[in-house]
Structures are given as structure tokens and as C-alpha cells.
């Protein structure tokens, strides 16, 4: 992996090139407009083999059929890259992407970049702002889930309890309300079209569902019927089906 002009990536194992609609003819038109974007940007995404911070990026790109290189690194590969000083990302962290050879770090910057390329950022400045603000609040849930995921021993039980008892209800209630206020919760979070806020929420809910299974609390989301419907709606987006079928199954 190199910056702009350099050598091709030595990272081997989990490199998967995502295919766009040129390889498949989707039955339905999901009305993804021609984005006024960096047309046919070459995108290489680097992250671990988990969903966590990078999954919304992957979902958005697959949804819109934008080609990208989905590099999933093992901890060892990541260690080597950092050690060899080949890393061009700015903050020593993943995810990071090379877009036309230029390095961009920070997951939310990348989510937004992908959404803009895909035309799913929001239809006007105000919708964009509302979608952005939802992403920030959804990200808070992801951070709380990360604390649950990475805590051990007694800490773990306390984290889980706080998440299930406090964080989740508070955040879910607001998101449920947001959905209800937008077309009665029959569509998406903002406006009349899917946005990055929907994909970020979907990714969060998938992890919550896994947590619920692990804790044998199947009813964790029962108080949020609109969110449940929303999750189903995103899960069933036609252009996501191939990816959802093929992608690695990860807890977090």
C-alpha cells in the first residue's frame, strides 16, 4: 500500500473487489442519480474484517454500485504496515481510504464522501444537515456498543447494563420519534430518499441485534417498531442483496 505515486499494495489475504451494476443488471431502478462527483474515483478502503466504523461506507458504495477495493486487514497485517512506515493515513488509525491515490482518514468523513459520491447525502442543505446530525447521534450508540464489546470481566456486565438500561432506550426513543415524524416512519430518516443516516443506523442496529442474541434478550428492540421496520427496509434494498449475502458474518 502506498501513497499516490508509489508501489502497489502488498496486503494480500482479504482483498475483495466489489462489483458494480455493470456486472449485474438490477431488476429495479433504485433511482441513484448521476452524482456530480469525482466521477469514477478509484477508491481503496482499508479496515479490519469487522463492520464497526467502516460498514456504512461499504454499504453505501455497494448500494450505489460504486466500485471500490474492500481491503480487510488482519491485526498482523496492520501491525506490519504501521511498522514498515508505509501507512499514509494521517492519524495512525483505520479506516482510511485512498481516493485517486490521496489519503483520507476518519470514518465519518469517509461515510460522507461515499454518500456524496453516491448521491445519498440528502437532497438539499437542510436535509444534509439533519442527516449529518443523525449520524453523529447514531455514532454515539456505536461508541457505547464498542465499550460493551471491548470491556472485560466485571466491567463488561456493568457496561452491558448501562447500555441496555440507559443509553439504548434514550437514543432509540429519539430515533423512533425522528422516524415517526418523517412520513410516519414508513420510509427513511430524512426526506424521501435513503441517506447515509439510514445506513449508519442499520449498521448500529445489526450490532444491537447481535448483542440481544448474545444476552438472550430477544425483545430488546420491541419498543421501537418503526426502527425495526426501518431495519428490515434497508436489509431488503435490492442492490444490497449480493453484498449482504457474501460479506463475512461479524458480531461487531
Amino acid at each position: 500500500m502506498g501513497c499516490s505515486d508509489s508501489k502497489s499494495a502488498q496486503v494480500s489475504s482479504q482483498s475483495k473487489v466489489a462489483n458494480g451494476p455493470s456486472d449485474r443488471q438490477p431488476e429495479t431502478n433504485n433511482s441513484v442519480p448521476e452524482a456530480e462527483s469525482s466521477s469514477k474515483a478509484s477508491i481503496v478502503l482499508y479496515y479490519f474484517d469487522v463492520r464497526a466504523r467502516a460498514e456504512p461506507i461499504r454499504l453505501i458504495l455497494h448500494y450505489s454500485g460504486i466500485q471500490f477495493d474492500d481491503r480487510r486487514l488482519t491485526n498482523e497485517e496492520w501491525g506490519n504496515i504501521k511498522k514498515n512506515g508505509e501507512f499514509c493515513g494521517h492519524f495512525g488509525q483505520l479506516p482510511y481510504a485512498e481516493v485517486n491515490g490521496e489519503a483520507i482518514s476518519q470514518s465519518k468523513a469517509l461515510i460522507r464522501f461515499a454518500a456524496r459520491e453516491a448521491g445519498v447525502l440528502g437532497e438539499n442543505a437542510w436535509e444534509i444537515a439533519r442527516a449529518d446530525s443523525l449520524v453523529d447521534t447514531e455514532n454515539d450508540i456505536l461508541m457505547a456498543l464498542a465499550r460493551v464489546e471491548f470491556s472485560t470481566g466485571d466491567d463488561a456486565e456493568a457496561m452491558k447494563a448501562e447500555f441496555v438500561g440507559t443509553t439504548l432506550p434514550l437514543k432509540m426513543a429519539r430515533l423512533e420519534k425522528t422516524l415517526e415524524a418523517n412520513n410516519g416512519g414508513k420510509g427513511f430518516l430524512v426526506g424521501n430518499k435513503v441517506t447515509h443516516a439510514d445506513f449508519v443506523l442499520f449498521n448500529v442496529i445489526e450490532t444491537v441485534e447481535n448483542l440481544a442474541k448474545a444476552m438472550e434478550k430477544g425483545d430488546m428492540l420491541d419498543n421501537y417498531p418503526l426502527i425495526k421496520d426501518h431495519t428490515k427496509r434497508i436489509r431488503e434494498l435490492p442492490t444490497l442483496q449480493d453484498y449482504l449475502k457474501d460479506r463475512p458474518d461479524t458480531k461487531f
Binding site: S37, S38, A41, H90, F91, G92, V99, N100, E102, I104, S105, Q106, K108, A109, L110, R112, F113, R116, E117, A125, W126, I128, A129, R130, D132, S133, V135, D136, T137, R174, T178
Partner: protein, 211 residues
Amino acid sequence: MPTYKLKYFKNRGLAEPSRLVFAAAGVEYEDIRFDREQWQSEKESSSEKYPFGQMPVLEVDGEVISESKAIARYLANEFGLAGKTNLDKAKVDMVVDALQDIAKGLVEMLFGKDEAQKAEAKEKCLTKTIPTIFSALEKMLTSNNGGDGFFVGDSLTLADLAFIAHTDYHVDQLKEAATLSAFPKLTALRERVLEQPNIKKWIEARPKTEL
């Protein structure tokens, strides 16, 4: 021009990047600041004005959004301070997101659970978090036309303004550490932006608060 109201506490805090955007753009707005008590009663009496129960919020002709970064980004886009291409916008976002980590470190340092946790957070902040971020930003700035202009492109953006906001330390502990001085391009950028007439005017006029 729409009517803008920005509501926050009596601090610079998370609202300052947005205030700097208004200042840089020369756009009028109502800079509303609540103390804790006022905030409590606001929250109760006007909860619909605070979608996530938090501040800052921005009210534009009566409609509301929350989340400090979404607000700053919206305003920057409205006033042409957001970066021109999609890639430039991503770079601006990247800088703003990274700077937020400094704010987070600061919060942990000042408002940690107990003295031990605060001391640990301070150690981490001063020896790791801030130097790492500043080092990366120095590199990024330098790679943009030698670092004598702005973070992204060839004009002022939210990235530069957020940088000012997040290095505005009147907190004694950080003033001493003053790790910015180790980074010449960043230091010069800060001086350059602070000299811009609109920004200078705001800095002189704004309420003086510790945080």
C-alpha cells in the same frame, strides 16, 4: 437572509466553530447563551426545540438542528467555507473530526470521574493525544502548498476555523503545555487566521470565558 439563532452554554466549547463560521462569513446571528439553570428550564419548557435534548442547536427560520459538527458544516456550506470538491470536503471533515478528539481529551481531563482518572487523562492528552493530532495536522498542512496557506485548497475553510476553536486554550494546564509551538506551520496558520479582520473583530468582541 434567513434568521439564525445559535443556542449554547456560556462557553466557547462546541459552539465556537460555528460562531467562527458566522464571523468569517460576516453573517448576523443571535448568539444565545444559557447558564445551567436557564438550560434546565429551557429543556423542560421547549423540548421540541432541542431534538436530542442537547446543545448547541441551530435554529434557522424556526427549524432546528442539533449536533455541533453538523451545524458547523451546514453553516460552512451555506457560506462557501466548506471546501469546493467532494474530496476537499472530505479533507475538511477529516480535520474537524480529528480536532474533536482534542476536545474529548480536554473533557476527560477536566471533568473525569475522580482525581486519579483526571490525572491519567491529562497525561494521555498532553503526551499522546494532542501531539499525535498536531503532528498529523502539521504534515497535512505542509503537504498543501508548503503549509503557508490553509488546510484545504487555497482559501479559508471550516478546517482552519475549527483549528482555531480547538487551540483556544485559556485552561491553565494546557496553556503551559502549549504543545503547538513545536509545530511551526500550525503556529503560523493560527496567527494568520487570527489576523483576518472578521475573525479578529469577533475574538475581541466575544465574551471571555474559560472554556
